[in-house]
Amino acid sequence: MAFRERVKVMEEPDIRRAIQRISHEIVERNKGAEDVVVVGIRTRGVPLSIRVAEAVSRIEGVEVPVGRLDITLYRDDLHTMSQPVVRETHLPGDIEGKNVVIVDDVLYTGRSVRAALDAIIDFGRPATIQLAVLVDRGHRELPIRADYVGKNVPTSSSEKVRVALREVDGEDGVFIGYDED
């Protein structure tokens, strides 16, 4: 299955500005960055989380810890996957009492976020868990919403949203398109 793009809805500068704004909102909401821990969901949430943590660190002048989360073991659709690959989860230190900001590229059904919530809670009891996404494309199947959104992109469920990040894909951009069989 190959992705065929139709429109580019975010360019590199749009992504940069969205991350900048989200980072300011995180600082505002948490009244600083003292107890903030940023955690990216594999795969593309990870580079995004690093960018967010760097931006928050620049704004507040404190080092913001970053972690990465593999949610495979917590998925509710494992039985539909033929070859689930499990990768390591790494959380920076104790998350007890911290404000954990989960970062992902696209918010869609909400199922990945539900899995991420369960995974994080297995590591301790944070004061809050917040959610930042680059794109919210709608079509939620669970009562989950994002605290910080880069861009709301209305889509039909037959469409696909692809986020490209230079750390993984060599370029930055958000595309709407469809899968060619």
Binding site: D70, T72, L73, Y74, L78, H79, T80, M81, S82, Q83, P84, V85, V86, R87, E88, T89, H90, D118, D122, F123, G124
Partner: protein, 311 residues
């Protein structure tokens, strides 16, 4: 990659599959360091430990692995079961099937028993040791431990020392090490080597001579009954020629890895000073066992029906 549902021996696995198991096991060893060492991945699955031979560490290791994945575990050991009343392996298997189990971990004194179970059952079969034949999860956890200590295994040399003839650990371990591109030596008195030479394995009787070449030494348990069978004249002679002791450790490479499948006969195949040296990876092997068995259970039971299986 071929579709797989069972793990019967290591020759079922391509090198790529082995690498996959080891990589997945690495992720699971991270799970084992968490405050809550349990993930929900196999919720609703049932794993039976069907043990026709005494075993503490392998059974407990499988039990812990399955429980850490949230599977339900039933333990079936011969002393507490209908086997005492003469129930056949087949009837036991069919009873398990009727209960709707998803995986059967089997240890049996007869070589090939897991292959029979595979014919009778729909469940995934995991061989936890059959006769003198195979013990694939032990081989995988040994590779995991070796890789952890030595890094890349290709071109490294390992010697299996001791009762190779009667050892399923050696039989599966040798195949697994060969599959990863390791040089394998088998060192034992001629009476404890298999009558047919092992493929691709250099055999020898002189432990001291090969010592300086080895990156890893795999010491096998010597059962004292073997002496009564006349396999060697006396335990004293065996220990003088084949025991890993401080003197022999002195001739080994400085970073040599010492392994043993347990339970050890301290003072027979291995001396306390070797078993307790920093070179010894024997407790690391036990820890690796849980992560590797979690990986295998997850890979066999974690995906969907009819999908491609990894191990």
């Amino acid at each position: 990659m071929a579709e797989r549902k069972h793990l019967l021996d290591v020759d079922d696995l391509e090198r790529e599959d082995v690498e996959n198991v080891l990589e997945t096991a690495r992720s699971f060893s991270e799970v084992l360091r968490r405050p809550i060492k349990k993930v929900p991945s196999l919720r609703g699955k049932t794993v039976v430990n069907l043990f026709y031979e005494p075993s503490t560490r392998t059974r407990m290791s499988f039990e812990v692995a399955a429980k850490r994945l949230s599977a339900d575990v039933m333990n079936f050991t011969t002393s507490t079961s209908s086997v005492e009343k003469g129930e056949s392996l087949k009837d036991t298997a069919l009873t398990l099937e009727a209960m709707g189990v998803d995986a059967v971990v089997v240890r049996h004194p007869v070589a090939g028993a897991p292959w029979l179970l595979r014919q009778w059952l729909q469940a995934a079969i995991l061989n936890a040791g059959d006769g003198m034949h195979a013990h694939p999860t032990q081989a995988l956890l040994d590779l995991f431990t070796l890789k952890d200590r030595l890094g890349e295994l290709e071109g490294k040399t390992i010697a299996f020392v001791g009762d190779i003839l009667h050892s399923r650990v050696a039989r599966s371990g040798i195949k697994a090490c060969r599959a990863m591109g390791m040089e394998v030596l088998a060192v034992a008195p001629p009476t404890l080597l298999p009558p047919v030479p092992l493929e691709g394995v250099e055999t020898g009787y002189d432990f001291d001579a090969v010592m300086p070449r080895c990156d890893a030494l795999y010491m096998l348990r010597i059962q004292k009954e073997r002496q009564k069978e006349g396999r060697f004249p006396s335990l004293e002679e065996y220990t003088r020629l084949y025991q890993l002791d401080a003197r022999r450790m002195g001739k080994a490479r400085p970073n040599v890895v010492v392994m043993h499948p347990g339970p050890m006969n301290r003072g027979v195949e291995i001396a306390a000073e070797a078993a307790d040296a920093p070179h010894a990876a024997i407790t690391a092997q036990v820890a690796a066992g849980v992560a590797v068995r979690m990986a295998v259970l997850f890979m066999l039971l974690g995906g969907g029906e009819g999908g491609e299986r990894i191990a």
